[in-house]
């Protein structure tokens, strides 16, 4: 098993407009990207479970081949920068993805 943080070059989150936060997991090696995709550790269902949200909060989930990237976007409950929003830029929401375990023996 390896952690996603060992396999991906970039794992990040950021606002996509004022009502959504988007997450990018980018790989440099296409074979690794294909392997992670095939492992199904990153799907709308696994992401919803990890973040404790209903799948209906996932606005989009895309496997983006040109950049070897898996990308998903969630709706915020309140728009960015409303009082009490702890992350106005949405830039620190990716951390739980780092430790996702990927079976590399398959």
């Amino acid at each position: 098993m390896k952690k996603l943080s060992e396999l991906a070059k970039t794992i990040r989150s950021k606002n996509a407009g004022v009502d959504k936060i988007t997450f990018d997991i980018i790989f440099t090696d296409r074979a690794v990207y294909d392997h992670v995709r095939a492992s199904k550790v990153l799907t709308p269902a696994t992401v919803a479970t990890l973040y404790g949200i209903d799948q209906s909060r996932i606005a989009e989930f895309v496997e983006y081949d040109p950049a070897c990237a898996i990308k998903f976007t969630i709706y915020r409950l309140r728009p960015s920068g409303s009082a009490g929003d702890p992350d106005i830029f949405g830039a620190q929401q990716y951390a739980p993805l780092l430790d996702i375990e990927v079976d590399i023996s398959a």
Binding site: T10, K14, N15, A16, G17, V18, D19, K20, T22, D24, I26, T28, L50, Y51, G52, I53, A59, E60, V62, Y64, P66, A67, C68, A69, K71, T73, Y75, L77, R78, P79, S80, G81, S82, A83, G84, D85, P86, D87, I88, F89, Q92, Q93, A95, P96
Partner: protein, 452 residues
Amino acid sequence: MSSIKIICPNGHLGFAPLKLESFLRGVEAGPDFIAADSGSDDIGPVPLGSDTCTSPEAWQRQDLEAMLLAARRIGVPMIIGSSGDTGTNSRVDRYVELIREIASEHGLTPFKLGYFYSEVEKERVRKAVGSSNPVLGLDGRDALSEAELDATERIVAMAGVHPFMKLLDEGCDVIIGGRSSDCAIFAAAALHRGASEADAYYLGKVLECASFCAEPYGAKETVLGAVAGSGVTVTAMHPDQRCTIASVSGHAMYERSNPYDEFVAGGRLDMRNCHYEQIDARTTKVTGQRFEPAERIRVKLEGAGKTGERFVGIASVRDPYTIANIDQVIAWAKQQTAERFGNSPYELFYNVFGKNGVMGELEPVKVPAHELCIVVQGVAPTVEMAEEVCMTGTRQLFYARLPEVKGTAGGVAFVLDEVLKASPAYRWTVNHTLAVDDPLELFPTHTVTIGV
């Protein structure tokens, strides 16, 4: 065959200063335009609502000076969009004034400056609200209601290429834009030189954040984008950065829900069939992009409304029993505030760092740290009330009544025994689109001659 070169030195001019070395390399490469975006809705609703900048003027001035002096020296137009973080009228006016001051300081020979505004009167929007052609919501929002419009302090419209092209057609040497779509700033220049819409908008898309489309990661460095014949090339100007297939294609998905579509006033850039090719060590070429014009132009509107005055309090906890029962502690403080202020309109927010302060309800880690920092925000209609709400909500953490607590001399630690006045609280009330017949309707343009 049309050919155009544009350099972009900064992805949000003013937010952090540009890096001069790669900028000067870019200038030496002989661009036809020097352009940058200077705004973002990433910064939250406060600057738009309160009509302020989040960027220090010294940084804005420094970058405008570097760009203006270079543009005038090599005799090419300089274009700025979304002036002063938000692109409101007052920010446009201030940037025009900064250009005037810089030109005067350096004794620049006369040049033609064009500028346009992006603020939209609420009454203009009200005409559409509830009409047969309503103000449609983006990102799952309902159509704009009269009540939300009433709660809105200020609205800007997101310009497409139209006001930029009008001012370029009028021969402007410098353009200072109100709120604009990032990619339109660059696309307008390319269209002005005869590039196809597909190449022009892709060029804008890839240049908008400067060196974010290059690797290794390093912001605020200049990149050069070009259209020559068919296709777009993008080249890093910093000697240690490269625009690679990975970095350029990866940038297409930055800060957006999907990496395939870029919507602007007037159409949609379709990047589904983009083909990326490394043509030299620092340059990637992109072909296959398409542009689909909209049947009817819909302009994006951004609006912010004030929710109240705001104070911030800070309290910390080290006792493990108190940490384990922090929800009860906060409930006590909330209850004490409610008893004092009853049904008055106020809001109290607690971000508990060490528990789930950064991620709130998205936090999967349920075990708290050995110490917590609680940031309290009190929001209320008046400054006096907001201060007292926040003070009550903070100080009552000290007096929380936990049944088995050993420490009976104070339940939290304070780094400051006071609450701090913060910016008023605003929220994004408008994230919608408005249909227009004339793409210039919301963006009145003006020109003026600057210099001696």
